[in-house]
Symmetry: D2
Amino acid sequence: MIILIQCKDRVGLVAAISGLMAQKNINIVSMREFVDIEAKQFFARLVCEQNRDPEILLSDLHLVLPENALIKINPEPEKKIILFVTKEYHCLGDILVRHHFKTLGAQVQCVIGNHDVLADICGRFGVPFFLITHEGKSKEKFESELLAAIKKYPNDYLVLAKFMRILSPAFVELFPMQIVNIHHSFLPAFAGARPYMQAYKRGVKIIGATAHFVTNDLDEGPIIEQQIIPVDHTYNITDMISAGKEIEKAVLAKALKMLFEDRVFVYNNKTIVFD
Amino acid sequence: MIILIQCKDRVGLVAAISGLMAQKNINIVSMREFVDIEAKQFFARLVCEQNRDPEILLSDLHLVLPENALIKINPEPEKKIILFVTKEYHCLGDILVRHHFKTLGAQVQCVIGNHDVLADICGRFGVPFFLITHEGKSKEKFESELLAAIKKYPNDYLVLAKFMRILSPAFVELFPMQIVNIHHSFLPAFAGARPYMQAYKRGVKIIGATAHFVTNDLDEGPIIEQQIIPVDHTYNITDMISAGKEIEKAVLAKALKMLFEDRVFVYNNKTIVFD
Amino acid sequence: MIILIQCKDRVGLVAAISGLMAQKNINIVSMREFVDIEAKQFFARLVCEQNRDPEILLSDLHLVLPENALIKINPEPEKKIILFVTKEYHCLGDILVRHHFKTLGAQVQCVIGNHDVLADICGRFGVPFFLITHEGKSKEKFESELLAAIKKYPNDYLVLAKFMRILSPAFVELFPMQIVNIHHSFLPAFAGARPYMQAYKRGVKIIGATAHFVTNDLDEGPIIEQQIIPVDHTYNITDMISAGKEIEKAVLAKALKMLFEDRVFVYNNKTIVFD
Amino acid sequence: MIILIQCKDRVGLVAAISGLMAQKNINIVSMREFVDIEAKQFFARLVCEQNRDPEILLSDLHLVLPENALIKINPEPEKKIILFVTKEYHCLGDILVRHHFKTLGAQVQCVIGNHDVLADICGRFGVPFFLITHEGKSKEKFESELLAAIKKYPNDYLVLAKFMRILSPAFVELFPMQIVNIHHSFLPAFAGARPYMQAYKRGVKIIGATAHFVTNDLDEGPIIEQQIIPVDHTYNITDMISAGKEIEKAVLAKALKMLFEDRVFVYNNKTIVFD
């Protein structure tokens, strides 16, 4: 049994929670807990040995926790996800293989692409692929078609696995902290077009990737995972892009694993990841 | 206030601890807790906002915890340590600089060397250096001289900062989980003499370092920290040794930081590190 | 045009090679060169802009290089490989996806498994799978069946992508420096059975993987690539194995990329990798 | 004997260089060579076994290389450097220890600080320290005092080892590619004040450091070295700054090693590092 709790911090919270567990004879196998002292916010993830009626436990927990506490008991163990792609296969391929062997921790409901080049591999894994081109359409029209496709399937998360279109604020608002994106990251950051070309011209020595939630608040939402790989002067642009894809694949895989195992909390535009 | 607890696991431990804290109106700022399920052993590290009389709190905690619980309240914030060295300066220099600027988290009481080449730098930092040569002596005689020097100073830990002598089981038994060592590590491991030569001949692509407690149980005690750096075919032996020193310095620094901040527990020949 | 050269070292080798290129008006785009001073062995990899008749260039190169120089001009750009697997999919899946999108740098001729669980995914990518069970057979019989399957396809390399059988010296001798293996690596190394259990019990802080050629000379042949990932006390055995698979996948992918781009030389049981 | 060459690329350069070496019976122990194809620029670093009269070799090399080739033969093996510091000791301490044990590859001529807190440690290592405060002075006055101090010593490089003042374009122009700086780097980059506070608020998962030459062309000159360390939500600002210092120390050390061993070339605002 997994229990997730987020609420205002106050003295005695851990006691209240674990006292209730003890009283109900539930053994806590692992408990990760974090207090954001500035934000006075409390976060906990419990793994317990025994299962109990979640509705009763939920109301009991609410009795001992501050008002408006967010509590999830036994969140869906197999998330349902929809993937958005364009032409690049590296993230999609990795996800599909894990999905196929049932180690993704989520079920890929379908894949939506604004190009058709990835339809073939989806078909090979028996995953529905929908081509929804953005060409010759307004963004409203394009996104309304995306929404129509999304609605056919239950979903917990939309994963932008190298989806090269920017979603409108109106679209993003429909899926708060439910859209995950992966993109390259450089030191220093390069605004504007062709960031790899800029990074190459600048002679960067590392290339990174960031997996994050998509929000409208900032140019980039809460960061879930970041990693880098070293590069050097012998890398031409093609090599840098190739290296970038490897790290994007690894970072998205790690972020999704954390997310699907319910290890990620979000507060004040940043994440707590109990990895 | 820092509280460290290690005891047999049972239902309700976290509740018992945090309940007591709540009752005493002590706010838990952070709590790291881990249960080794196989070993049925419970470990916790609490940081609390308020200070309370440690003796009273200790006896109160014993009342709510299993028999034989190991409890430390406010462990000495500034550990007292004695360094053992031979000729290599890289770990010693790093520790002395941190010591000098009071960011080591420990006070270096003295340095004991079986060679005198490092006496000079100790003097520059005002740290006593004792030359105790092993030459022309039995190991018993050598170690009895070490012990005599050690006894002049209070100490929490002996840090072997590239001390190239093997300590006898009798010596090691006097300082259980109080001796920390750093050494190079390779994949695969190379037994026998001149491990760097073996690693070079074998063409390893990474060189690692391991910081560990010294015990007599195994060829190597509980591991506190391990890191590696990549190397390649252009590294000759000198380059590999040089790279190895950089990683040894970093790994020992990290291990000592964990240790001096009371983040390390030991059980069944392995460590729990709440980093 | 790619040119690979390995020979005894002597004064003037680079001049001899590049002089010939200049004389033939071939521009050297990149030249990686390494001398193993101890072994007095010279290695070079040249990428040139122009293509020339390889037979003429080969004989011209032999004229200016020491006797018995090993020279390859324009090695097959698309290697032909045969994969050996057992039950674990993580390396196979990654290779098949790259193969499918033609970014592997090699053509997977077929997959041979001693279990059938991976037949399905091979079928999905249109790659022939042969089940050759080892059960109820002598090693000779088993390997003769492997050889019969191998012979149906041209091949440059056999890739053991988590193949859990040990190949006999007689088999290995048939494919000198043509068999690549991937396995986990720990610090310290754990001999004997169930290495992950040993690593877990020992509380290792990093888990590595090594890709290497398979030879009979040593317990492990020349290392092509090694990388690690950090783990901690919260990892149980399942977590450690899962982390190990991620790093095995990444290390094998990097090793194969180096190999298929003709960046790997072998000498005296170690590799020179011009990455 | 070390030889550094930078010139326009053309067919036959390697042949010309190595041919001359062969003719003079000089054995090339290692040769690193790189062509920036876009920039049509050639870079080489040779290590040779024999020493020859550098003046004769220089003029001979000029005969076989394109006009305006930059050639250095046996660059000063022990660079002379001047360190600029403010209050933070981590980079300075590391450099002074290496200097003391003669493994820095450079002689620290003196240290200039705009605060006096680091005077003590310089004194302990017998390195002259000059306090030149910026307070109550125009930047012109401040920098003229810096220049007066610099002029007392020969120097190859000025190393800004956490010097917290921005140097004027006029000052920077006096030392082209001779000023090295170290600073933290984040993904994404944070402009404006208090970058660690911004990184903390943003929940970054890695903290990096960049060592680079100081130029006036861009907000940041050619990058020599970059590395990162992982952080997580449990890091408060103090922890992040502390982690940042460790990585700054390591990155500056690596960059200086490359520089002092004459492994760094600069062209078009980026570096070629033959590491």
